[in-house]
Symmetry: C2
Subunit: 390 residues, 2 copies
Amino acid sequence: MAVADPMDVSPLSESAAAGQVVELGADGPLRLDSGTELSRFSVAYQTYGALNADKSNAVLVCHALTLDQHVANAHPLTQKPGWWDVMVGPGLALDTNRYFVICANVLGGCMGSIGPKEINPDTDKPWGLSFPVITIGDMVRAQARLLDHLGIDQLFCVIGGSMGGMQALQWASAYPDRVFASVPIAAASRHTAQNIAFHEVGRQAIMADRDWHAGEYHAHNTTPRAGLAVARMAAHITYLSEAALHRKFGRKLQGRDKISFGFDADFQVESYLRHQGMTFVDRFDANSYLYITRAMDYFDLAAEHGSLPAAFKKTPVRFCLVSFTSDWLFPTADSREVVKALNAEAANVSFVEVDTDKGHDAFLLDEPEFHKTLVGFLNGAADRRGLKKP
Amino acid sequence: MAVADPMDVSPLSESAAAGQVVELGADGPLRLDSGTELSRFSVAYQTYGALNADKSNAVLVCHALTLDQHVANAHPLTQKPGWWDVMVGPGLALDTNRYFVICANVLGGCMGSIGPKEINPDTDKPWGLSFPVITIGDMVRAQARLLDHLGIDQLFCVIGGSMGGMQALQWASAYPDRVFASVPIAAASRHTAQNIAFHEVGRQAIMADRDWHAGEYHAHNTTPRAGLAVARMAAHITYLSEAALHRKFGRKLQGRDKISFGFDADFQVESYLRHQGMTFVDRFDANSYLYITRAMDYFDLAAEHGSLPAAFKKTPVRFCLVSFTSDWLFPTADSREVVKALNAEAANVSFVEVDTDKGHDAFLLDEPEFHKTLVGFLNGAADRRGLKKP
């Protein structure tokens, strides 16, 4: 990473590589949409780049369902590269020579932020299903408390794909004065019936696993591995387009010339899915999966505000929405609905539908048109915000 | 049901209501694609209408994955109406006053035809996973043996949706001289990577259920209910379009005014899916589900014959293909690929893409344009075949 101007270096960036976990709530509990209050709550986060002197260059990256705060560094469990290292770094779209990039593990997650896997200090046991059911609004509320802690009044930008995009929308709606620009990618203002249906399949797969023990698997020294793997497999199909699956796998066989007339993974696509399922359970908590999918299901900005335009009333936020042509999980129509609502509020909104056959997961990939779109929007917004060029 | 011309009544139609199970193989074993031979095999079937004197009016209905031979009579386990009673009956598209309609439970099924649930006479125990893995070709081969038994040389028509459509294609390819007309609906000449992926999720859900006991659940007096229900839920989503789910359920809540902040079925779509899963396990065998999904995965006419046109070389069969605009499981492109191959063989082929938002399951529903298409094609073909008008 390039050396930032010493004047701009905040102490926060010092420990960027190690990541941080902060315990919040001392100045007041976190009040959740369910009515429950969390008196103390941990938020785990990573930062990249340096916060400038007037704290105006912060970018909050919001992660998707099964991702975490390890955006641009090797993952501590899998040792794989950060999930958005094509996007976050010196000279990249989220240029760490210009921006101070923050990503926090969501509330309910399993990478250090408070969630069902963490210890409930009142019982000294994992929260499990006694953890309150949370919403996208709650996730954003917790992130706002992290920003308070960091002394950041306003984000230059909040950005994310999929569930991260829901958070980017929620941020703009709930804290319009704390967001200069919002970039919701491959997202929607509410979960559809089909989205909910797929999540319900995943939850039922987890709950069907006898090792789940009604959420008390920690007490039984078990993990509902098989159920969580099935949930991941089903979800993974929805992240890819039919065309991408066809291009990648087609009907190619795995390590054999002929079909086996059996139930082994004859086809590459089967082997790939099984691998996706098996590796996922090594890094993800089954109860977290229940909570986070539920938060997405509950997301519905229009219902919350009476109408979608009402969720963005006279918004000062600059928006850039991005969708992908082959994304059938959060299709372009979902983004267009948000754009229409923003137009009805005469908001500053740009919208690009990127032509790609890579499906929903395109937001994680090195898609040139997508990156150009982000670079263009971010550079323009950064200039307008008066952020020093790198 | 109207009384048929006594001259046309064959003894076979007498027991139509009760259904029949015939034990075949006495005149030679059934040789499967895997190389295994079944020396004796049962085929359970239903018939409707009457076979005419020259046995030229037989229509073979081929059922889809989870359906069975109870096309137009109450189902013996669920007491629900036959799955195609909008299509099969006096005066309907498959007019039982004109046609003799047969439907056989597929090889590997669980409604009386030989399959993993049936008793292996050599061991006096259910076959379980010792049952040979079968193909669509094997299913059709068994049906051909049933026709031999019934003394029917040539079908007037073979018709089916989804996996039934695969069988209709296979029939035309394997027995071109035994088929006058073939009507593959919402089908394809091969399973795609996405199709295989969804099936693999279902199989893994079953196998993950500890009550599956490596397929030996009968010996353990268990049933992998939870796993089979999850498999059904995942598959069921693929049978409906996003639009149909939205129209039917949207984000409507089930029996409550507000979200519960819990993991109950808050949304109607969750409740509906759970119901689909739970009722399915009462009528279907988990091992059968493994075998039949596998048979579909293996289906690939082009691979078998070198090319798709080669599968229909100089075919004399009259084809009518139907697809549905909102079917994303077997999209129109799949049918079009077959039509192109048939055109390359200068075959007699008609193709209609029906405009509907009901998804893959539209073939089971009372879709006027779909029914008109079938009535038109069948009437024309029947006249040409010289079948007496009702």
